[in-house]
Amino acid sequence: MRSMVFFASLLGAAAIAVAAQAETIQVMVDRLVYTPAEVDAKVGDEIQWINKDGLVHTATVKGGWEVNLPAKKSGRLLLQEPGSFDYICRYHPNMKGRITVRP
């Protein structure tokens, strides 16, 4: 039991160390628009979408990840792989964004 607690705190420390280096990039979702629409990031960064609309949105990569963005709430995604990701809102596919992730 004690060793598990010790292990957990080690993990916690590691997480803090990573978080300190990585960036959190904010994308506003307002009146059915992602701003900025295009984001440059690196592996380990986190995207935080802040949904200011009273509508449910998502950030969805077709055949890939999906982040739910409930009305007036935010959602997060940790970027784990490099690449260029075009995403849309599942419910309002006119909403478009792109994240370019460098290694």
């Binding site: 009146r31 059915l32 609309d53 009273g54 509508l55 449910v56 009305a71 419910y91 309002h92 596919p93 006119n94």
Partner: protein, 174 residues
């Protein structure tokens, strides 16, 4: 189709009614709030009918989107009228919309299967066109309160998306 076009003309005529000159009879914010809310309720009711009737997953998914979005917008509209302390005011445009919706509901109620699906989605295209046109050319220009105007503008963008969505679904049915 003729009936539908007549319907749109009726609503616009009502918005312009009395006095003759369009600018002379703009709806008040209380009336605008009532019209917008009523238009939302109508689409939610139609969607619920579709969810209960249709067996086509594309139609049901579309209808679920309508419920989700129009309920969200109507909630914002209610929050806004509460905040502004205004009372939505019933008016001829709202009454006409409701009356036509009831007639449509009965008409759709007689249909099932692919016939229902086609009639529902075609009406959704026409209805969103009609409402979008009224919101864009009548309600937004007439709205006095900035927050109400802003909500209508967001609503318009959203409902234009619904119209496109309905058009895609209709094309898929063919």
């Amino acid at each position: 189709m003729t009936i539908r076009l007549k319907t749109a003309a009726t609503v616009i005529a009502l918005l312009f009614a009395a006095g003759g000159a369009p600018a002379a009879d703009k709806p008040t914010d209380q009336q605008i709030a009532h019209i917008a809310y009523t238009a939302g309720v109508i689409d939610i009711e139609a969607a619920k009918q579709a969810i209960a009737t249709s067996k086509n997953p594309t139609i049901v998914e579309f209808a679920e989107s309508m419920v989700r979005d129009h309920e969200a917008v109507n909630k914002q509209a209610l929050d806004l009228v509460k905040k502004l302390n205004v009372t939505p005011e019933d008016n001829d445009t709202s009454k006409t919309l409701s009356k036509e919706a009831e007639a449509k509901r009965q008409e759709l109620g007689k249909l099932t299967g692919a016939e229902f699906d086609k009639a529902y989605i075609d009406h959704e295209i026409a209805y969103h066109k009609q409402v979008n046109s009224a919101v864009e050319t009548q309600l937004i220009p007439a709205a006095q309160n900035a927050e109400l105007k802003s909500l209508l503008e967001t609503g318009l963008k959203l409902f234009q998306g619904h119209q496109q969505h309905a058009e895609r679904v209709a094309a898929e049915l063919k």
